[in-house]
Amino acid sequence: MTIARKTHDRTTYEKDAPQPGRVLDARLHLLDRQLLDVDDVPVTTIDDLEIHATGGDADPVGGPAVLTNLLTGPVLGTRILGGRPPSSRLERIAWSHVRAVDSAVKLGIHGSQLDATWVERWVRDHVIGRIPGGRHDPE
């Protein structure tokens, strides 16, 4: 997949101006990172991101745009085969819930408030919770 042989290799471009805020690259800092809730309990992994024009328009091209939602959902199947699940199937977590980004992305709210954890809650209530001793601390 190499393109445009003519671009000579040793090009060095001018350095971008230092930015007023922290720099986050999607793939390097956000995508596929662990998402932890306010008690540092893992909620899910960030599968995708959603951006909107600052005015809220879904098509962000042509004007300033911002990151609005972290997305999570049944991505593995489509990721392996390519493409992505329809956007209706993706669970949205607003950026306003995010309290920190370091080796994991940390939310300021409790995991149970998010739909992303309904599978966990279902397995807990219907499978693990049913087995005796499931709700006690290991000793």
Binding site: M1, I3, Y13, Q19, L28, V66, W95, V98, R99, V101
Partner: protein
Amino acid sequence: MILSDLLDQPVREADGTPVGYVIDVRFVLDGPPVGPLATPRVHGVLVSPRTGSSFMGYERVDVRSPALLARWFAWRHRGTFLVHWQDVAAIDEDGVTLARDARRWAPGYERPAPA
């Protein structure tokens, strides 16, 4: 827009000549704070002429070790450049089209002091 519709897409200049692939999208946290953190503004897209998938970010950060590995990854992604978001003219099914006089910037960025 869902970001994975943008990542790995081919990139063309205004006159149609292909220049590479989108390997990442850069945000800068300098928008109005809607929650504990500032809103991430879409600052630009990172384009690599060689391969669609960026790998471990070696081409952007100043991680120099382990030496052999770092040099090999950086070599593989040489020529990666940043295009500001306002220089992105259009995004459609067959890829990203840059504005006519789109400026190219170095992919590196100021690293926060080690934790």
